[in-house]
């Protein structure tokens, strides 16, 4: 009988909070960053093989898909770094008050987008 008991709904019904959103994004960007390192490898390889080969990377980086990848890459890393700083403070035992976590969570989200835009503008030549 007991095995037939249903499991009550969980992620389907639970509200998202800023902190849970940042937490799952931290995980996702962590995995993404790992995978996106492949892109960096291609970039380095194209550099090693000289200017002609680098042209392929340049064409890729100017395409819409390329831009999407590079901007996504920048955002993903910035998000991870900012969120990791938040985690450092937590590891030292600071910033656990609900209000503080909300503010730092919003700062991580806004900061990641702002810094991405700033980097994009300043590195417009590359992208």
């Amino acid at each position: 009988m007991k095995d037939n008991n249903p499991i009550s709904p969980h992620i389907q019904i639970y509200n998202w909070h800023i902190s849970s959103l940042v937490s799952i994004s931290h995980r996702i960007t962590g995995v993404l960053n790992y995978l996106l390192l492949i892109l960096v490898c291609f970039w380095v390889i194209s550099l090693i093989f000289g200017p002609e080969n680098y042209q392929y990377f340049k064409i890729f980086s100017k395409s819409i898909i390329g831009k999407f990848f590079i901007i996504g890459f920048i955002w993903s890393y910035i998000f991870q770094i900012l969120s990791e700083i938040r985690h450092w403070f937590w590891d030292m035992g600071y910033g656990f008050e609900l209000k503080t976590t909300k503010i730092t969570g919003v700062l991580v989200i806004l900061g990641s987008f702002t810094l991405t835009i700033v980097l994009y503008l300043f590195n417009g030549v590359l992208i």
Binding site: M1, K2, N4, N5, P6, I7, S8, P9, H10, I11, Q12, I13, Y14, N15, H17, S19, S20, S23, I24, R27, H87, W90, D91, M92, G93, F96, E97, L98, T101
Partner: protein
């Protein structure tokens, strides 16, 4: 294991609709999770129209009103109705809390009531907390002291006593543990915020002589470090405590000792 989807026997069905019979103009729809162990059917969501003109202020009052006046078959736990016993912990409006302290005026739109998340449902809003109680027992939540307290008082300084503030108030309602995604996925191994807060309550007690052993026992990849500071626990705690901070304090003690 992370299982996002509910198993087949837990999928929700459309339930019954109880139309208002009082003729009130101030109605609210209340959607309640129902599961009857005697039928073998899947759980369903029943909807009740409740006359809010004659209903006190808390969600528990709404449930009492439904049970008394509309549908006596509905099952839920409740006892003190003053936020002290922790019996009426449930998920209301997508967040865990105590039905007896949660005002329904804080909820916009329909009132959705579910049992505490990711538990075996025993009936309707009653979840099976036996795993959590076993885990609670495993941290040995009692004072270990070689002093014979029948002869002398076991004194504690004001400062040491203050360290227990924010911990001793916990009523073990399980709102925090069942709000934690880590506990959803690894509830059989990860101790969860409620039990870890209790563990810390004894670790930090100056009168306890078993601190080292307690720390050693809890220092485990699965028991403790499944906490990823998602903060759902602190967001959910109806007593305003901070289990996430307590867990971080344990981690810090382990890292620095």
């Amino acid at each position: 294991m992370v299982q996002i989807n509910l198993p087949k026997n837990s999928k929700l069905q459309k339930g019954k609709y109880y139309k208002d019979k009082t003729g009130s103009n101030n109605l609210r729809k209340v959607n309640v999770y129902r599961w009857d162990p005697s039928t073998g059917e899947n759980p369903r969501i029943d909807t009740y129209e409740v006359d809010m003109d004659n209903c006190p202020s808390k969600v528990l009052d709404v449930l009492n009103k439904i049970k008394n006046e509309i549908d006596p078959s509905i099952a839920y736990r409740r006892s003190c109705a003053h936020g002290v016993c922790g019996s009426c912990a449930m998920n209301m409006d997508g967040k865990n809390g105590l039905a007896c302290t949660k005002p329904h005026s804080e909820i916009k739109g329909d009132i959705n009531i579910y049992p505490l998340p990711h538990l075996k449902v025993l009936k309707d809003l009653i979840g099976d907390l036996s795993t959590l109680y076993k885990q609670y027992e495993s941290v040995e939540p009692w004072l270990k002291n070689s002093n014979d307290s029948s002869k002398t008082e076991n004194l504690q300084s004001k400062e040491d006593r203050a360290k227990l503030d924010g911990l001793y108030e916990c009523i073990m309602c399980a709102c925090c543990s069942t709000s934690c995604p880590s506990y959803w996925w690894n509830g059989d191994k990860y101790l969860g915020p409620a039990v870890l807060l209790q563990a810390y309550r004894w670790i930090i007690d100056s009168r306890d002589e078993d601190r080292k052993a307690r720390l050693k026992k809890v220092a485990d990849e699965l028991k403790l470090y499944r906490c990823h500071t998602i903060m759902n626990c602190t967001n959910a705690c109806p007593k305003g405590l901070n289990p996430a901070k307590a867990i971080a304090s344990i981690k810090k003690m382990l890292a620095t000792s």
